[in-house]
Symmetry: C2
Subunit: 314 residues, 2 copies
């Protein structure tokens, strides 16, 4: 019998979501467990099994399942382990792929969220038919998944693709990053980095609708930009410029067919994208100019994390 | 009969060198033609054939030849063409791989010099047994060959791997590059860039043995460094620091097992390498620290360009 379905797992700090995904990229069954309820990883594995087994039965049993892919923070593809993930309850190196594989008698592969997002775009989204592209995820941090010649780049140790930690500002006053260094891309272009850019304008006394907002967010900045607020517009322009110059450097590495941007701030793509494109084409080496596509994820209205994880087994 | 030999071709602005390479990476026969003597590419192809055919006969004829690899400036692996190479006599896109393949009845592949160097290191040099590494060539410019999962990275269009044009200095006074932009790695770390660093110290009135040198070169700077000359030592220290910080960014991309440096300036590796390593480990994201090897090419005393080109067919 054909193995028509894949299981995608979005392992997050709050919920772990299981989805049964069909060949067209539809999530046809879904359920979840509370990640934090299981301080012992063995209990978590058992809870996962009890959650997913009814889903599997519901589509016809194990014979129709092609495997399980997991997107998880700090996951290492090569070892199938989660390593020192700050927002998960288990410490040290957790061999989760092996534990789940043994419990469920399934092939299980695991990688980080941004890599899963890249596989999701290739299987079901904006990168269909592409073999060389880079997905950049703008969230709490900036993540990336790099696909070269149809394959995810994992590097020598499984830790490749951390483009959020390229240095885009080498000046002494560059922003401090959570990784302990200064000037990382994510300090400017993550959702937090974007808020910080706007906050800096407010602190400098610039007139803006945003002064009246209780808690700044990229969505509040988007709403202000829609109303023509100069500070909001400039915030997105700077965000796009910074992404554009980072992409100009990334292109010297892998000359991708496209960059695909994913995440909450890309709801404001009408303001960010033109600035990414013009900054990139101004700053990239001449041989690469005007040859690259800049796209918004096509999975943002779907459960991209589950689809991306399932796509690891496509 | 086994195909025991490969043909490596180093196509340069002055000479085009042909070598017959055995399975252990020895060049057992070699000959060359003058590239500039053939303004018409058809005549060049005929001259190449007449040069290489006797070499082939000398090892037992076509049956023992596994193919031909060419390293050439501005060569595109995908199309087998040389495109607008400033130092070659033919203009436009030249389909050299096809022309030579048809004339010689051989499989012919072609790529740029730095990519060929990377394949050479993997087949015969410092990267033997590695599947993820980056070769950086320091010459007139700075070139690079990136190997991920055992394969050269060509990108969507064949133009990947131009790390000499990563921007390492975004300040207004950054050095102008031949590509028309400012702050490219090669403006600091090519042989010319290194000379320029030393010249800047001389122009600023620093005391140095180098003031008395007629024509500055990385070799003259090396000799001065050997004598403890402060300016020469500082020149190499700055070169290494700049390479180290570029590598720190490259690691976020592909997390290689090693960086391998090739080219004339690496004769001074005793002065450059410690600075590369300390700068890298200071500047790289903490998860990558002290995990990467920094090596000097093992092909610098051999004909690396011919070996690298042959290795394209390994």
């Amino acid at each position: 019998m054909r193995q028509n379905y894949l299981i995608g797992v979005d392992l997050g700090g709050t919920n772990t979501v299981f989805g049964i995904v069909d060949g067209e990229g539809n999530i046809i069954k879904e359920d979840s467990v509370k990640t934090q309820s299981f301080p012992r990883v063995e209990d978590f594995v058992e809870a996962c099994a009890q959650c997913v087994e009814p889903l599997i039965e519901g589509v016809g049993g194990m014979e129709v399942i092609g495997g399980m892919g997991i997107g998880a923070p700090n996951a290492n593809y090569y070892t199938g382990t989660i390593e020192e993930a700050p927002n998960l309850p288990w410490k040290g190196k957790v061999p989760l792929a092996k534990l789940l594989s043994e419990r469920l008698h399934l092939d299980v592969v695991m990688t980080n969220d941004a890599n899963a997002a890249a596989m999701g775009e290739m299987a079901y989204g904006a990168a269909k038919g592409m073999r060389n592209f880079v997905v950049i995820t703008l969230g709490t941090g900036v993540g990336s998944g790099i696909v070269i010649d149809g394959k995810l780049v994992y590097g020598s140790d499984g830790f490749a693709g951390e483009l959020g930690h390229m240095i885009v500002d080498r000046s002494a006053e560059a922003r401090l990053c959570g990784c302990g260094r200064r000037g990382c891309l994510e300090t400017y272009c993550s959702a937090r980095g974007i808020v910080r850019t706007a906050q800096d304008f407010i602190d400098a006394g610039r007139m803006t609708l945003l002064s009246e907002v209780g808690e700044l967010s990229s969505y509040e900045i988007y709403k202000a930009a829609k109303q023509g607020d100069e500070v909001a517009l400039e915030t997105f322009r700077i965000t796009g410029e910074t992404l554009g110059k980072a992409c100009a450097d990334i292109t010297t590495f892998c000359s991708p067919e496209a960059y695909i941007f994913f995440g909450g701030p890309m709801r404001a793509s009408e303001f960010i994208m033109p600035s990414i494109i013009s900054s990139y084409n101004e700053q990239v080496m001449p041989i690469y100019r005007h040859r690259c596509k800049f796209l918004v994820s096509e999975l943002m209205d779907k459960n991209a994390a589950v689809l991306g994880a399932a796509a690891l087994k496509v």
